[in-house]
């Protein structure tokens, strides 16, 4: 009974604050409180139920397909290790493709139906499964591998008897992070011309100025995401899976000489070009919208208006960078800060953690216009949304990392009478670093997704706007150029974070970098 009260208390408090905020902003068509949401939902249960089932089905298929793809890719890389670097590189590139641009392209390729929704959901999840899975498969003590080897068995036996099961907790942890993303992917997919679903209704209600309906959809989407997040976690506990030490391990790229690293980058770029160009030729995609690498090269270097193209691209990129950088850093700081604060004052955890999950779970496509409405068209709204997207994974990962502090070292500190703060500074923070960097890396594409969605749906600036504008004006060359630019920027920033990560971890957690 008291346990129930302790859990219900924070939720009730949140509902109360929400209702107060809604009442205070009444008449502005900004915010509908829980009372209005409940009323609207009870009036339209069938409509919401059908839309939810459609979107959930797309998200579920995408979740399944994305995770399956991740598992197969990883299994292939385990059985044939030389392709590992290339596979993870390609996987990162595909993950960094901006959903806003891939959506319409998928729609043209796949025609009417659920195709784009499912594919976008799959694209949104597979990387957050792939990386933990890879970490799990490789986080196996070398003695286990020796055991298999001295009994005369190879990669396959390693995979079947040792690595697969050892990676299971990592797989579940990755799926837990991925689940809300699948829902988001399915909703963005619906914007490309789906007949029904939560995304379709969202667009409708924004235009109809139907605030109660809009917040009802956002609430439902948040509840579903929270339920899935908690559900996957519960499944892990039910299977009695141990929690993995670091969910998103750093990429253990072989160092090698500068020449070899350059060689790998060239190989990756070459493979990307071959897949892009060859894929389009193989599928016979119409060159009106499916631009090939030479088209883009011509637009950038040969066309008479190349200068204007460069200017448009760089101007949009600059507008985007101004928002995405502060938002990204704010999200990292907020996530880390909150995790540290909760570790110092554990009593707050019961209140803050559900709020954090709720905030993160509301799909950005529903919240983007609302947050910008609330915080204005200026920098604040955009930065806040980017921060929101980065904040939650950072918070979860850092909280987890803080718990990884070696107990024996903490005992030594305690035996010297050190309090919480010195313990934090000397032991817990260094122990948290690998998790922090892992989420900082994964936060790069998430931040870019958030900023382009806000630019598209709300502020009408930057690369997100350039993408939708070029699509509506049939300027597919420009659309593909922005895709390349956004992807390249994501991959490079990801690489930059990984570079810093390796240097810092070499100092604080050498066991994470070696091998």
């Amino acid at each position: 009974m008291t346990a129930l009260a302790r859990r219900a208390g924070p939720v009730l408090l949140l509902l109360l604050l929400w209702q107060l905020a809604a009442t205070a902003t009444g008449g502005q068509f900004l915010l509908a409180g829980p009372a209005e949401v409940a009323a609207w939902l009870s009036d339209n249960p069938g409509l919401v139920g059908r839309a939810l089932s459609v979107t959930l089905a797309s998200a579920a298929w995408g979740f399944l397909a994305g995770n399956l793809a991740a598992i197969l890719l990883v299994a292939a890389a385990m059985l044939w290790p030389p392709v590992l670097g290339l596979l993870t590189g390609l996987a990162l590139i595909v993950f960094c493709l901006p959903l806003i641009a891939t959506g319409p392209i998928l729609r043209v390729m796949m025609g009417p139906g659920d195709g784009p929704q499912v594919v976008l959901a799959a694209l949104a999840v597979y990387y957050t499964t792939l990386i933990p899975l890879l970490a799990g498969l490789r986080a196996v003590p070398s003695a286990w591998i020796d055991l298999v080897a001295c009994l005369g068995r190879g990669h396959l036996a390693q995979l079947v008897h040792v690595r697969a099961r050892a990676a299971l907790p990592y797989l579940v942890a990755g799926m837990q992070i991925a689940a809300p993303a699948a829902f988001l992917g399915a909703m963005v997919g619906e914007f490309t011309g789906a007949e029904r679903g939560m995304g379709v209704l969202t667009v409708r209600f924004i235009r109809d100025l139907n605030t109660a309906a809009l917040w009802s959809l956002a609430s439902i989407a948040a509840l579903v995401s929270i339920a899935v997040y908690l559900g996957v976690g519960a499944a892990g506990r039910f299977l009695r899976l141990e929690r993995p030490p670091v969910i998103l391990a750093p990429p253990r790229l072989p160092q090698g000489s500068a020449g070899r690293r350059l060689g790998r980058a060239v190989l990756l770029a070459g493979a990307t070009l071959v897949l892009w160009w060859g894929g389009m030729e193989a599928l016979g995609l119409n060159p009106f919208f499916a631009k090939r690498p030479p088209d883009l090269f011509a637009a950038l270097f040969l066309a008479p208006d190349a200068g204007a193209t460069w200017q448009a691209l760089l101007q949009a990129a600059a507008q985007t960078a101004v928002f995405v950088l502060p938002g990204y850093l704010a999200g990292l700081a907020l996530g880390t800060g909150l995790a540290v604060a909760l570790s110092l004052v554990p009593a707050l955890s019961g209140l803050v953690t559900p709020l954090a999950i709720a905030l993160r779970s509301v799909p950005v496509v529903t919240t983007a216009p609302l947050v910008v409405l609330l915080l204005g068209q200026g920098a604040l709204g955009t930065i806040a949304l980017v921060a929101l997207m980065v904040f939650f994974p950072t918070f979860v990962a850092c909280q987890h990392g803080l718990q990884q502090a070696p107990g024996q070292i903490l005992d030594i500190l305690r035996s010297h009478g050190a309090g919480r703060v010195p313990q934090m500074r000397h032991v817990r923070l260094p122990a948290m670093l690998p998790a922090f960097f892992a989420s900082a890396r994964m936060g790069v594409p998430a931040a870019i997704l958030a900023v382009t969605v806000v630019e598209w749906l709300a502020t009408g600036r930057g690369l997100g706007n350039l993408m939708t504008l070029s699509a509506s004006l049939s300027d597919y060359t420009m659309l593909w150029l922005t895709v390349v630019l956004v992807t390249l920027a994501s991959v490079l920033c990801h690489g930059g974070v990984a570079w810093i990560e390796r240097r810092v971890l070499r100092l604080y957690a050498p066991e994470q970098v070696e091998g």
Partner: protein, 330 residues
């Protein structure tokens, strides 16, 4: 020409031949030709004429199996037509011209919105009644629509530098909350939403002030015009008949729309009001004289002039009236 389209046409030819040789001409099911019409936005009475034609079986009688492909905020409209996934697409004259500039072999074969639906919406206590009221006002719009306002200003001798453009998302909320004095939007969407919420807006129709750009135009490829005339005529005939029926009873058209798409989240009063506001934009003396979708050389000249204000250079070849001539001759 894509591989996909080649295949489909060969397949259709083959089945038609098979049907004829087997003496199955009477069985309409065999003769149905599947064609797709790519809509430019989510389902609503904006496309009610198509729903009526579909619902009453007029296309089926003409041997067409029509599927209506919904648009959306991130939906491609022109590419399915170029790629042959859709026979006809609905795209405004400026977007069609932009696609042509990018190499799309498009022709405009019909004009649904005779009057451009763009308005400047304002609140009744601070109305913007004519372009002369614009200077000093804050106008909310998608940044991408700036050329539209620019064209309006130059058509009416207003200095656009005196107008404060506020980038907003496409929602009435900034106007209702007083963040802007006016909104650049369609007569048939945001003002309707405001009216339904009990906020009466004043709308200044840009078409009444020289912005004569055709909207909701039907586009098809040159290739289709050469090889699929029969289907094009049948499709456009259904559209014309459907829209005439919609004009005759807008409430019934709205009811049909809501009934056909129960999952689309539409409400009847909104759709009824939208239909009532939309029909006057679609019919004129010209259409009364010549039929739905019509245009004349004068309107083409006017559109070429507006398009050049928007930075688009097009020739008269962009318009092809031959399909409509067949539709309204028969």
């Amino acid at each position: 020409m894509t591989f996909d389209r080649m295949n489909r046409r060969d397949f259709l030819g083959a089945t038609a031949g098979l049907a004829a040789s087997a003496g199955l001409r009477a069985q309409a099911a065999w003769a149905q030709v599947p064609v797709a019409l790519q809509l430019s936005w989510l389902h609503s009475v904006q496309f009610a004429g198509s729903y009526i034609a579909l619902d009453r079986g007029w296309w089926r009688e003409a041997g067409l199996e029509v599927s209506l492909l919904q648009g959306g905020p991130n939906a491609p409209v022109e590419p399915p037509v170029v790629a042959g996934n859709a026979l006809v697409g609905i795209s405004a004259a400026d977007y069609a011209a932009a696609a042509v500039a990018q190499g799309a072999p498009f022709r405009i074969i019909g004009v649904a919105m005779q009057k451009n639906p763009f308005v400047i919406a304002s609140l009744a206590d601070n109305p913007i009644a004519s372009p002369a009221d614009l200077p000093g006002k804050r106008i909310g719009m998608a940044v991408s629509n700036t050329p539209v306002l620019q064209a309006l200003c130059s058509l009416n001798g207003v200095d656009i530098a005196a107008v404060q453009i506020v980038p907003t998302q496409y929602s009435a909320q900034p106007l209702v909350a007083g963040q802007v004095d006016g909104l650049l939007c369609w007569e048939t969407d945001l003002p309707v939403a405001m009216a339904i919420q009990g906020i009466e807006a004043h709308t200044m129709l840009m078409a009444d002030h020289g912005y004569a750009l055709q909207s909701q135009t039907y586009v098809a490829t040159v290739d289709s015009l050469a090889t699929r005339r029969k289907e094009l005529v049948a499709l456009m005939a259904g559209e014309a008949r459907g829209w005439d029926a919609c004009r005759a009873d807008t409430d019934a058209a709205a009811e049909l729309t809501v009934r056909m798409f129960p999952d689309a989240g539409m409400d009847l009063p909104t759709q009824q009001l939208q239909a009532r506001r939309q029909v006057p934009l679609m019919f004129s003396d010209l259409t009364d004289a010549h039929g739905f979708g019509w245009w004349t050389d004068e309107t083409v000249e006017e559109n070429i002039r507006i398009l050049s204000l928007l930075g688009r250079t097009v020739t008269r070849d962009l318009w092809d009236r031959s399909i409509l001539e067949d539709v309204h001759a028969g």
